[in-house]
């Protein structure tokens, strides 16, 4: 099956998508410098800035999280490829302030290397910058070494709570502590049912056999190993939430935030069905579904499937999750 996408010059994809992005959200985001996405209504300079970086092709992530209550700047890379250190350094320079900057980094090799180099340069300049690394993917067998866990949609709640804390005027150390607490208490598992193509190369980035689903598929089509026959919404929900609860050590009485993140062509209808299945499975365990959210937040082009995210929440994290925000991808009043 040939790629059927509405694109123009494959080498100019990111420029054009950013141009359309700021048209669609003109009252929230703008472009600055070398393809940096910034807020049209910046927060006070006395407050901690929150910055992230990451490949494009996952819209609305990550630039969709720029805005009041979440990110100050995002540095979008090429399709599925982290931006290089020069632009991330430029973002850190732009965000630089006495209150400090929190850099949210998803655990993918390019992102981590880029962030490391940019952080070293920022520190050389005397900027106050701290980093939180998100690695929520539980599909990777070697749990021991967290460096092996990929960063999936968990970056979104981390940005949400850290951004809310920053907006409230919390210190860099406090924001970092909140981000890390969210990070430690979260887990994500992905499932794919249909493949996708790379919009600039046209190559197949994931293929799923006709009757199967693949549990553990990464967000660039990296397989996870959990290939099995396609199951019903309820069965799939139960398998996945069990694995997540297991990873989190969640027990009766714990309060979870659960997100169903559609990655492309899986409908919102199905996401609601799966969420309903999660609720049934959690009820059976006595675990509380404290908050739930469904939708497309971090996509993988037209791939069919979703990422299921769960996190153990405390009062403060719940309040920060509920706090107002005004971004292209999420608005909370």
């Amino acid at each position: 099956m040939a790629m059927k996408k509405f694109i123009n010059d494959p080498d100019n994809l990111v420029n054009e998508l950013l141009a359309g992005f700021v048209l669609a959200h003109a009252n929230k985001v703008a472009l600055a410098g070398n393809k940096l996405v910034v807020r049209t209504h910046p927060k006070a300079a006395s407050k901690v800035a929150v910055v992230t970086l990451g490949g494009s092709g996952h819209e609305p992530a990550l630039s969709g999280f720029v805005g009041e209550g979440m990110l100050d700047i995002s540095v979008p890379g090429e399709i599925f490829a982290a931006p290089g250190p020069p632009r991330v350094f430029e973002a850190l320079k732009l965000a630089h302030r006495d209150a400090g900057v929190l850099l949210v980094v998803l655990n993918h090799e390019g992102d981590v290397m880029t962030a490391g180099i940019a952080m070293e340069m920022a520190e050389k300049e005397g900027y106050k910058v701290k980093q939180v690394l998100t690695h929520d993917d539980i599909s990777v067998p070697s749990r021991q070494d967290p460096r092996d866990r990929r960063g999936l949609v968990g970056c979104f709640p981390v940005i949400k709570v850290a951004g809310a804390a920053a907006e409230q005027g919390k210190s860099l150390d406090e924001c970092l502590a909140i981000a890390e607490r969210m990070e430690r208490n979260m887990a994500t598992l992905a499932v794919a049912v249909t493949g996708a193509t790379h919009p600039s190369t046209g190559s197949v980035i994931a293929e799923v056999p006709e009757a199967d689903m693949i549990v553990g598929m990464g967000q660039h089509g990296e397989a996870g190993g959990g290939q099995q026959p396609l199951k019903s919404a309820d069965e799939t929900a139960a398998i996945m939430i069990d694995a997540l609860c297991n990873d989190l050590g969640a027990k009766a009485g714990d309060r979870l935030l659960v997100m169903i993140n559609g990655v492309g062509s899986t409908t919102l209808m199905e996401q609601y069905l799966v969420l309903n299945g999660v609720k049934k499975a959690l009820d059976a365990k006595g675990i509380v579904l404290a908050r739930a959210i469904a939708g497309e937040f971090l996509t993988v082009q037209e791939m069919g499937g979703f990422q299921m995210f769960a996190a153990k929440m405390d009062d403060e994290l719940l309040a920060l999750w509920d706090a107002p925000c005004n971004t292209p991808a999420l608005v909370v009043k």
């Binding site: 090429e78 599925f80 290089g84 250190p85 390019g110 180099i117 660039h220 089509g221 190993g225």
Partner: protein, 211 residues
């Protein structure tokens, strides 16, 4: 001696080599990766050529630094930081203004490799660009130690890089996106290692053409 002009010729030839193999590199990356390595490397080479063009000084360290920074600016996932670091670390090690002799060139490569190894946990055998880069740099050092010429250094480096890249066929990826497909990664050479081999092929070609 590797003069400023010779460095320019070397990186231009390297750019030519990569460009001629764009599809091959992307195809290799499709097998387990995301199929963009050829595109990314070509963008990196375009940036290198622009940087070379724009460089006003005739200082080798400044040239290498500009190249490294340009490669890093390519927004190319892991590739940009790794190859960019290679050039920037060579720059840090190269002495002020003088042209490099064979030993100086090998020492610069060694410094470049050390920089790269600070950025990644990947080792030889993990099916990454290190499988070509490590033997290439070691071969360069050995040739220089044995009194070889600049061309000897580069020929040894290229031959070792090519052999190293070929050996990755039999390996299972333990870094990069391809690690996620486990055993299925065996059977084709690594894209990044192939790029390293092409770079050294270009370096050799550049030095020869600019003798």
């Amino acid at each position: 001696m590797v003069t400023y002009e010779r460095w320019v010729a070397m990186v231009r030839a390297a750019a030519g080599q990569v460009r001629a193999s764009q599809d091959l590199l992307s195809n290799l990356d499709s097998h387990g990766g995301d199929g963009d390595h050829g595109t990314t490397m070509v963008r990196a080479m375009n940036c290198i050529e622009q940087a070379v063009e724009a460089e006003q000084s005739s200082s080798i360290p400044a040239l290498l630094r500009a190249i490294g920074w340009a490669v890093m600016g390519v927004d190319g996932g892991a590739t940009g930081p790794l190859f960019g670091t290679f050039f920037m670390s060579m720059s840090d090690a190269a002495p002020g203004d003088a042209a490099l002799d064979a030993r100086g060139l090998a020492a610069a490569f060694t410094a470049g490799l050390a920089g790269v190894q600070k950025r990644t946990r990947a080792q030889v055998g993990d099916k990454t660009m290190l499988d070509a880069l490590v033997p290439a740099v070691e071969a360069a050092a050995a040739a220089a130690d044995g009194g070889g010429s600049v061309e000897d250094v580069l020929r040894s480096a290229f031959e070792a890089a090519r052999a190293g890249a070929e050996r990755t066929s039999a390996l299972q990826a333990r870094f990069g996106r391809a690690k996620n497909i486990g055993e299925k990664s065996i059977g084709q050479p690594d894209a990044g290692a192939t790029s390293v081999s092409l770079l050294f092929k270009g370096f050799l070609e550049g030095v020869r053409s600019h003798a």
